[in-house]
């Protein structure tokens, strides 16, 4: 059993089969061994949250633990490349996909996935989901270390960011 939630009221964001970005994240994370999906309903409208997830150069690096900076180096449609700098100065190149309410980034050693969709139950609230962690190099698998805690920290920072 997965963490299902009702489709949001907005018909524009889920696709024709009714899969909004948060549902997509649950499906995709199922293919990554060791991945956990953390969700939180945040008291801010989707139109406030979605641009924060899309802002790789600014906001996203502030949300993800141990990341000092992230720079978008290429964007071609929804496909993106970025370079991240860790707290110890190490650099990592990411490939990814960025869409409204969706960002998915993979490097050799890290995986980051975030999704947002309007809340189905509370107007002007947004359901946000995170998955990610330290990747087993070359595999769709994460090291089973603090994957849940990382999700809670990211979503906690996002909540503080929009509250402040």
């Amino acid at each position: 059993m997965t963490d299902n939630h009702p489709a949001p009221g907005s018909a524009a964001r889920p696709d024709a089969a009714g899969l909004d970005p948060v549902r997509r994240l649950h499906a995709l994370a199922a293919g990554v061994r060791g991945a956990r999906v953390t969700t939180r309903e945040i008291a801010a409208p989707y139109d406030t949250i979605a641009p924060l997830l899309a802002d790789l150069d600014g906001e996203l690096a502030r949300l993800v633990p141990d990341m000092r900076g992230l720079r978008l180096t290429r964007a071609d449609g929804d496909r993106i490349e970025a370079v991240a700098v860790g707290r110890l100065g190490l650099r990592a190149r990411f490939d990814g996909i960025r869409r409204p309410g969706w960002v998915w980034l993979q490097s050799r050693f890290l995986l980051i996935g975030m999704a947002a969709t309007p809340s189905a139950t509370a107007p002007d609230h947004t359901l946000v989901a995170f998955t990610g962690g330290v990747r087993v190099p070359g595999h769709a698998a994460l090291l089973p270390v603090a994957v849940g805690r990382a999700g809670r920290r990211v979503l906690g920072r996002l909540e503080e960011r929009v509250a402040g």
């Binding site: 089969a17 899969l19 997509r24 995709l28 199922a30 998915w104 993979q106 995986l111 769709a140």
Partner: protein, 168 residues
Amino acid sequence: MSDDHDRAVLLVRAAQRGDTIAMNELLDLLIPYAGRICTPIALADGPDAVQETLVAVFRGLRTLKEPAALYGWVRAIACREAVRVARRTARAVPADLTSLPGRGDPQLAADIDDTLARLSPEHRAVLVLRDIEGFDEQSAAALLGLRVGTVKSRLHRARDSFRKAWSS
């Protein structure tokens, strides 16, 4: 479909090698396919059924030995999950077709949806596979894990229900 099929085979191989970007692209291909099967069976619970289907697909992807068999495998999972989700939410109400509008009603599409909603998930699954997806009785039986005789009798009852509704 053949372009999609060839592309899906490549994406499955890349995903099995650990490429999560390929998994994203594979998800884009599979969502409409799963939706086409799940939505007429699970109706309002279609998004739940599609999500459950794709969770099962991606969880099992690394065990798929023959990527060319992807769509058949996904189809079987979608049928199973759609029926299971529809049952779970207690939408398996017995068919009560006496109040349905007749053939001349202008809201024909709505009538069909209404008729479908009054059938059990199992009957909807048989109708979707036989009359929408075009499978023969043997294939539909294999996908649903039923005997051919059971599929035949369910199909007969489901079509009979429609016939009565239109002629009432």
